[in-house]
């Protein structure tokens, strides 16, 4: 599923990487624990988290995920968004909670990484 479709499904606002949401997402990794993301992401996944500090983008960069969605309407500081832009990682935010996001995406055929 294209990131642009996910953006519509989850009613996201795009905070970084708006010019290119064409990346194809096949799998999802969702956690507030950054080591969980690092342990399970194999690269090119969509990362869903409620953690909005600089470590979330560092983790996304190290894990090699394709995009980050912040849940529960939590918005990162400008320096976090700037860092994501520098690392060329699209960043989106939705007001939905993590459980609902995962349910919606699972119903549309996306799977977690195991």
């Amino acid at each position: 599923m294209k990131l642009s479709e996910i953006k519509e499904l989850l009613q996201c606002e795009v905070l970084a990487g708006e010019d290119d949401l064409s990346v194809d997402i096949l799998q999802v990794v969702a956690s507030d624990g950054m080591s969980e993301i690092l342990a399970f992401a194999k690269s090119r996944e969509l990362m869903i988290t409620g953690l909005t500090n600089i470590q979330s983008i560092r983790t996304a960069d190290v894990a090699g995920v394709s995009a980050v969605i912040y849940c529960r309407g939590k918005r990162p500081d400008k320096k976090v968004i700037d860092f994501a832009k520098q690392k060329k990682i699209p960043v989106l935010v939705t007001s939905m909670v993590m459980f609902d996001i995962c349910g919606i995406l699972f119903n549309r055929g996306l799977k977690g990484v195991s």
């Binding site: 080591s35 953690l51 560092r58 983790t59 960069d61 190290v62 894990a63 090699g64």
Partner: protein
């Protein structure tokens, strides 16, 4: 035949500085990429470096990270001045953690750091002295030598 050293870099890590936490791993990623290390091995080493750096930031006053790249492998040694690990075997169990709430608010301290480092290493060793500090050694073999 002994391995030929291609690069040796030493980095300082400031304990308790969560804003800067991860910068050293970020620098190491750039250095390894410039050296032409392939994406899969680079990713494994950077995960080890990031987790090691977070551990120093969370638990220690300061630490150093030494990166040695040879034509055979990548070696990362992280040494800190911290409290030490009383039971290394226990610390290596997934889910075991002594992290504070503040550390968990940073997204770390869920008992996955050391297991992640071990999983991504071909050789992995921890040495710890209570009240003095901890050293963590990680080796990742490069493709022709796996």
């Amino acid at each position: 035949m002994t391995a030929m050293e291609l690069l040796r870099e030493c980095y300082e890590i400031q304990g308790k500085n969560f804003d800067k936490a991860g910068e050293v791993a970020g620098e190491i990623k750039v250095v390894l990429r410039d050296l032409g290390i392939d994406a899969a091995h680079l990713r494994r080493l950077v995960i080890v470096a990031f987790e090691a750096e977070m551990n120093v930031v969370m638990y220690a006053q300061r630490g150093t990270m030494t990166l040695i790249v040879t034509d055979e492998d990548i070696n990362l040694e992280t040494t800190d001045e911290g409290p030490g690990i009383p039971d290394i075997e226990l610390a290596l169990q997934e889910g075991y953690s002594t992290a504070s709430d503040e550390m968990r608010e940073m997204g770390f301290g869920f008992g996955m750091g050391l297991p992640n480092m071990k999983k991504n290493s071909d050789e992995f060793r921890i040495e710890s002295n209570m009240g003095k500090g901890t050293s963590v050694f990680s080796k990742i073999r490069l493709p022709a030598h796996e």
